[in-house]
Amino acid sequence: MQRLDFESAVEKIEDKIERLKIASGQDKASTEEEIQKLEQKAAKILSNIYSKLTPWQITQVARHPQRPYTMDYIQNIFTEFMELHGDRCFSDDPAMLCGLAKFNGDPVVVMGQQKGRTIKEKVRYNFGMPHPEGFRKSLRIMELAERFSLPVFTFIDTPGAYPGVGAEERGQSEAIAANLMKMSGLRTPIISTVIGEGGSGGALAIGVADRVLMLEFATYSVISPEGCAAILWKDGTKGSLAANALKIDAASLLKSGVVDAVVPEPAGGAHRNPGDTFNNLKACLTEVFSEIKHTTVDKLVKNRYNKFRSLGLFTEE
């Protein structure tokens, strides 16, 4: 477990648990009680730490290298996943994972930005930053979902759309814009969950949904804290200041009305206990889906338009 710098209070206990687990080997009974006690103690310390995280610390949790990624959620919340590839124009972008799956037995469409764990994977998935072909693949699969009346579940986890020469040449902006427009009128239910980093336009490109959920220690922002700091503070290392100012945490997002519900994470974040995280999210998705699945498509589309239409504060006098 890669520990974050603000978690030092739990280091000793977690190390001890680890040692006991290794030492006990086959003979689990002898140490079981002690491990349980220590685990409870660790959970308490972690809950305490995590109840007071700053937005910048939450950013570190959202980017934790062991945090579950889109594919982990798909495999643990859905069944019978079949991946679908390609935008039919240029290529298949691995940074945008799309496919068919079953949710509580019902056929659905799933998609999300995918990050990699090993260096080789990170490069393959381009650190979760899609090119235009990734967004165009997701658009193609959303249109497929619409034709076959399949609900769409999207999982948002990206630093942002890739800023590169090829991406610009092939119309990164147009690809994102087309997704926003299509999703706003898509004639099938859409539920989006921000699971890690909700990075700007590349996140929103699969986030125009009937319901938007957000994991407790995920972030969602118009620009990365570092990017914002580089522009407004003229210093890219002032990310912590920018994270505070931008209010990118789940509680703030809920308050702003951009997010409809926050999904609780286990003590110490999703990466410490992915199993409980999957269960929590599955329960939330089930509930939210049951709220909207009997709504007529006309009403769904109208409500979705009005939901995004109403976002933004201004005066008029």
Partner: protein, 277 residues
């Protein structure tokens, strides 16, 4: 008209000591141009054809038939939803830009005629916080699309923007969804939407309604893209190709329909409206 005078003479006059406002330096070729000549040429450099950035009302005045323009929603103004503060307070920045431009925010919208054809419009003003799109810009654009839908009228937008307005946080990102959704409704109704991209159009504005026009036009040399060139150069750690993200480059890559010089803009837009109207 008061604003006409103000907008014409508000740019210069700070560091210039010799006869105030008589001469202007071209940002592109550094040529010193006689101000009157620049005005006569619609703010286009006579030496290198660089199209100067225009205050919103100046552009409206150039393009719309005399006395036909009626402004929409002049009272819609910004708030500070996050209590945002970087080196300066967002509230103070708003006030200083309002003072500088005489406008509430970075967008002027309204209805007018181009060569006798009625059209609704939204015009960005880059001088107001880099034309950034916050709640005011997003709301005013959305209202233009909705009004156009209601009155069965076409829309022309003129963009000049660095993207979403960071100081309004996530709500500024949501303006992308809001404006793209409204543009989608216009499209569904078969009403024309012409998007004119001027220098520069980047970030959340390009990645929402601006790239959704039925016809996309650009002014010569305009910088148009998603990420800014500096961010890209830093990311890929290579020098960028010549002319990268300029109107001519993106035309070649199939992203826009045409490049139109400022002196021909009114006539071209009039003709497009005739075809699509």
């Amino acid at each position: 008209m008061g604003w006409f005078k103000n907008s014409f003479f508000s740019v210069e006059g700070k560091s210039v000591k010799v006869p105030q406002g008589l001469w202007v330096k071209c940002e592109h070729c550094a040529e010193i141009i006689y101000k009157k000549e620049l005005e006569r040429d619609l703010e286009v450099c006579p030496k290198c054809s660089y199209h100067f950035r225009l205050p919103a009302f100046e552009r409206i005045n150039m393009l719309f038939d005399k006395d036909t323009f009626e402004e929409f929603d002049p009272l819609v103004g910004p708030t500070d939803p996050l209590g945002f503060k970087d080196i300066k307070k967002y509230k103070d920045k708003i006030k200083s830009y309002q003072k500088k431009t005489g406008q509430k925010d970075a967008l002027i919208s309204g209805l007018g005629c181009i060569n006798g054809r009625k059209v609704m419009t939204a015009v960005f003003d880059f001088a107001f916080m880099g034309g950034s799109m916050g709640a005011v810009v997003g709301e005013k654009i959305t209202r233009v699309f909705e009004r156009a839908l209601d009155k069965r009228c076409g829309v022309i937008t003129f963009t000049a923007s660095g993207g979403a307005r960071m100081q309004e946080g996530i709500l500024s990102l949501m303006q992308m969804a809001k404006t793209a959704a409204a543009a989608g409704r216009l499209k569904e109704a078969g009403l024309p939407f012409i998007s004119v991209l001027t220098d520069p159009t980047t970030g959340g504005v390009t990645a929402s309604f601006a790239m959704l026009g039925d016809i996309i036009v650009a002014e010569p040399g305009a910088l148009i893209g998603f990420a800014g060139p500096r961010v890209i150069a830093q990311t890929i750690k290579q020098t960028l190709p010549e002319g990268f993200q300029r109107a001519e480059y993106i035309l070649e890559h199939g992203m826009i329909d045409m490049i139109v010089e400022r002196k021909n803009m009114k006539e071209s837009l009039g003709r497009l409206l005739e075809y699509l109207g």
